[in-house]
Subunit: 327 residues, 2 copies
């Protein structure tokens, strides 16, 4: 949550000149993004009435070869009417440019605010928007493997080691070992795949009242089991700050999704396992970050145990955590 | 340079409701401010055409008793036509409010960009704007002592100690000792005083082309020697990133200032001493921060020696560093 690179007004003005968006008026580094720096940029606009953009500089973690996938996906989805920011192409029609050693992209600014605790009507809109990107991505040409799927969880668990996991919580090594074995044995193989967002937490959704103003931060997007994306979103949205399950949110999220892209019986049946996988994914990346971030660093480490608790909840509750309309 | 406090959309929307500025549309935490958190907030505006503000949350270092000085000063200067952001008063006509334990203020958003390396025409505008706030503050009722004046430099030097200063640079203890003795003996006593900004670095000036769009971050403002503020600004602007003196910038800054508020012969004579005091102020606070910030902390420590070198420059160059129109 920081701006990692200083970008002077002179550099910014010259960069903005490479796009047909008018002249630079204002730029503020914004405290969003962990693997990139972002600026909220205002220009005079093509017609002089002003325009706003997010300028993203890709700092690390991102393979530059993957940028065309991420940026092409935004353009594809935006063209299909999904609430995602389109990219602004430069005068050479490129969606990204190099600024020194680093790639940058200029992206449409979308209004809206990220909620801490959504209402059911808002969760319903989010479910519908998620289903919308799954449908709209069907004819998208790009593909990207999910590096944080079952194989990735094993790699992260090995890297943390039982000692590391035990440092976080004495019960964690056994939980991870047992759960990885369960997931290996139970992970569904034959469900529909598509492009998925894979990280649709509330801070990646801009809401305008009860409507979705924008889905953002597609930098974990990849091709994987479509219903896994709903499971990720369910695990991200259906608990309050104290970890208590919110059945009305879960029901609204699923209802919103199901109304736009009806889930097959096989997908419905797999949701509890997929949600346990989703919890494992965030448990593992948070555990890894926890062990690799000094306790006194000025970044907030996210508690891995949040998702250990959600994992246990899904294991105990099973299908009961996924209330469908008419159930 | 961070947002220290999480502020959810629900809290923000409720806070914005306390002001007559329309409804919350968007909010982005911005990477500005060391002692406070800031959000760039967009609302529907009073008339529905949209409006933007900076929401500041005072986190630390600021004595809440001093907020009326800082915020009242902005309103006073803005009312006099100075390019500073006015504060937005809430429905109870208060310039600041408490949000939980912390004070917040809603402040006008001003366009413009902070320059890395200004051109002379821009430095001239900055000098004129600085003189403008000195004149406009003459009938401002508030007063605030400068905690970072000569007495404050001694306190910081004592706190760092010769050992600490020597860690930064072996030559630093002697330089600080000799220079503090010189400043004690030479600090001017009878020059005009006024409210001064006291920290007008390029990142605290928003430029629109060659014009000043806004002077911001008045949280070091205080009552002190008026010409000291010009000396601070001179020391902050008249050197490039490698520390080389920029005579054309210095001349333009002084000319711009002098055209709006002509400096008296006594003020002109004192500028070299005042500039050495300005360098001592930033040398001391940076040395203090250097010694009190872990080397591996995720904040950039500013090199104290930048201002040791500028101090030596002013000591050697004397009046030659202050080219006046017609000299």
């Amino acid at each position: 949550m920081a701006v990692y690179t200083h970008l002077g007004a002179e550099d910014l003005a010259s960069l903005i000149g490479e796009y047909d968006v008018g002249a630079l008026v204002s730029a503020k580094g914004i405290a969003e993004g962990v693997s990139n720096s972002n600026w909220l940029v205002e220009t005079t606009g093509k017609d002089g009435t002003g325009a706003r953009f997010i300028l993203t500089m890709y700092e690390r973690r991102i393979d530059l070869d993957e940028l065309p996938f991420f940026l092409g996906l935004l353009d594809h989805l935006a063209a299909k009417g999904c609430p995602v920011p389109r990219t602004i192409h430069d005068r050479q029609n490129q969606a990204s440019r190099m600024l020194g050693e680093k790639a940058v992209a200029l992206i449409e600014f979308l209004p809206g605010v990220s909620l801490d605790q959504p209402e059911p009507a808002q969760a319903r809109s989010v479910g519908a928007a998620l289903a919308g990107i799954h449908l709209a991505s069907a004819d998208f040409g790009g593909t990207r493997a999910n590096g944080l799927g079952p194989k990735g969880w094993h790699e992260l668990a090995d890297d943390c080691g039982d000692a590391g996991l035990g440092e976080i919580d004495p019960a964690l090594p056994a939980l991870v070992r047992d759960e990885l074995a369960f997931l290996d044995a139970s992970w569904p193989e034959n469900l529909p795949h598509s492009v998925i967002h894979a990280d649709l937490f509330p801070d990646n959704v801009l809401m305008l009242g009860d409507e979705v103003g924008g889905l953002i931060d597609f930098y974990f997007a990849c091709n994987d089991i479509t219903a896994y994306d709903l499971a990720v979103t369910h695990a991200a949205w259906s608990f309050d700050a104290q970890g208590a399950y919110l059945p009305a949110i879960a029901a609204a999220l699923i209802a919103g999704y199901h109304a736009v892209r009806p889930l097959s019986p096989a997908e419905r049946a797999a949701l509890p396992v997929l949600a346990r996988g989703a919890c494992m994914r965030f448990l593992m990346t948070r555990a890894y970050d926890w062990l690799h971030t000094p306790a006194d660093a000025m970044v907030t480490r996210k508690d891995p145990m949040d998702f250990a608790r959600r994992l246990r909840f899904y294991a105990e509750r099973g299908h009961g955590a996924f209330p469908f309309p008419g159930d």
